[in-house]
Point group: C2
DNA sequence: TTGTATGCGTTATCAG
DNA sequence: CTGATAACGCATACAA
């Protein structure tokens, strides 16, 4: 456990002042190039590592970004985090990650921890029952930037990074309609959350435009768990007239349904065509492959982190840009394809 | 952007010394209970938050744990992280998380960042091509504890937290043998990694014990990706005598195989019985359900974090315990069940 | 039980 | 281009 090397030690060895060493290490413009290389070499040789705490204490920033997500153990979220980590790492920011487990209470506690950790900025995707941003007021007051991604609430002082969920819901539904579906059931999550409310809106719009009936019987708000998927299939079996199309706001739940539907004697897509959401890896594994909305997780994470860092560096004014909309894409696979185009065969 | 409150401000208002305030805030035994509550209330009232950097600078610890994992975007890893986050949070430790993307080079860089961030301890799961722990020598030298989990290399100065992969591989194979399989193909990952090497060893042992043949033709080392799964099915189709059992060291790859096998006209489990590894959510979604080795991710994360924290608090001597073995469990589902027990029917 | 004084390692300001 | 010096906010040894 040898003693920690400081800039004083380097200064002494080089017969320079600590100030010069500090400046050299930080590539200060007003320092002789020779001195810089001299210092750099000596630092390396002596095994110097800068003390972030002293530095952070002196400057007033932490080079740390706080991230609060609903759940860590979701395929989509891991992709997002992966993107954030990549960008943060490149700009030598650290990430402090915590999960709200879909509970506002926990989210509030997390926010407090982040505040006490003096994060330079915050990246948040809201819990399913969060309905205001009051717990981030301490941040707003201090001018600490907050970026919401995916699950957001629009508010003037923070960037939102989302896809156009309404359009995506619309696209998914139109696709089913184009496959000849007349009776489309939509399964969604908590309608407090923009992502689900917007998808539902898009679904309704598509039905409306095509003169199809919707209504309560065809709109199910659930938690999108595996069990919800199984329950749904039972519900379908109980219906007088079962649906011929299924738009489910989560791939995992959709995949569960496909398996359960098949086991119940329905044929997918012939009896019931299915579209999911997220392009989770599972959509490629099941048979038939799941048609879904591709949703750029990695990219969303990268953009969120990059925007925050840009803002922290004064390269982007938060007030200027307010919502960043990422493109989504309908990925058509077997679960919805009724109209098989024979023309592509040799 | 109001001024930050310090212990000096509290001290002034209360006509106490900063030292007393500091001690009161830290629940120092030698402080009057009344003073403590007085200080606590005032701190609350003034909106005081402690400056971790000043504190960390003064003490010699950071209340921060570094985590390096191969990939963030894996179902298993998110579970582990979720467990770590839970425990760390409870003991008010922060987590700094980074990914090696399965590359030693990146892992070395990550280790350096962690070192510079002066983490109090390190939780690491190794990249697939890491074959020594030299890049952690800086930590060992400084006495910073390192705990390896899941993908480990045994070394005297650090705890390993693993499951008994050899036993698990053995169990999986024995199960297939019990289902009547005579020709079992094993698909594994990089043999540099304990997890895969050990599972292979268990597989071989089981074969040996039952006088079954193995050999190169029945051992495939891949990256366990989706594509590897598809390639495997092609390989199987090309075999003179295809296997009647498949033990694949990853559920996701196994699920892909099942789907592809069915599409190629094989019946699972009748023609080929399949066992995976990890109990990934996907194993419940596919049809038939995937028999697999359940692997306590959340628990592994919790135990790893807790052990580290205990060690940091002097409650656990690293040198005493060297390997913590978690239990695994064979979860039997449809993909391997040939011997249907009729007796359970009504 | 409380107060005084000091230093943790940096960086920013000011002066040369 | 470089140096001296003063904070940054806290925790502790020592004193009372």
């Amino acid at each position: 456990m040898q003693k920690e090397i400081t800039i004083y030690d380097i200064a002494k060895q080089l017969e320079l002042s600590p100030a010069t060493v500090s400046r050299a290490l930080n590539d200060h413009p007003a320092i002789n190039q020779n001195t810089k290389t001299l210092v750099a070499n000596k630092a390396m040789e002596m095994g110097y590592r800068s003390n972030m705490f002293a530095s952070n204490l002196r400057r007033q920033r932490t080079k740390t970004i706080g991230v609060i997500v609903p759940r860590l153990d979701s395929a989509f979220m891991s992709t997002v985090l992966s993107g954030m980590e990549k960008v943060a790492n490149e700009s030598s920011y650290n990430l402090i990650i915590s999960q709200s487990l879909e509970s506002v209470t926990k989210e509030i506690a997390n926010a407090k921890t982040m505040f006490d950790s003096r994060v330079d900025g915050l990246l948040v995707s809201l819990a399913s029952d969060t309905d205001n941003l009051d717990h981030f007021n301490t941040f707003f007051r201090k001018g600490i930037p907050l970026i919401l991604f995916d699950r957001v609430i629009a508010q003037k002082n923070c960037i939102n990074i989302v896809i156009d969920n309404q359009k995506a819901g619309y696209d998914a539904t139109i696709h089913l309609i184009n496959q000849g579906c007349k009776r489309i059931l939509h399964v969604t999550g908590s309608l407090k959350r923009n992502v689900y409310a917007d998808r539902l809106r898009g679904y309704k719009l598509a039905l409306l435009e095509h003169g199809l009936t919707g209504g309560a019987e065809l709109e199910r708000s659930t938690n999108l768990t595996r069990q919800d998927g199984l329950d749904l299939v039972n519900y379908i079996k109980s219906m007088a007239i079962p649906p011929d199309g299924l738009f489910i706001a989560s791939d995992f739940c959709a995949a569960t349904c496909i398996t359960a539907l098949k086991q119940s004697g329905f044929s997918v897509p012939t009896d019931i065509a299915v579209v999911g959401f997220n392009d989770d890896p599972v959509s490629l594994v099941i048979d038939p492959g799941l048609t879904t909305i591709h949703y750029p997780g990695q990219e969303m994470g990268e953009i969120a982190a990059q925007s925050l860092i840009n803002h922290l560096n004064g390269l982007l004014r938060l007030s200027t840009t307010n919502t960043i909309l990422l493109n989504h894409e309908l990925v058509v696979r077997g679960s919805s394809q009724r109209v098989v185009s024979q023309s592509t065969l040799p």
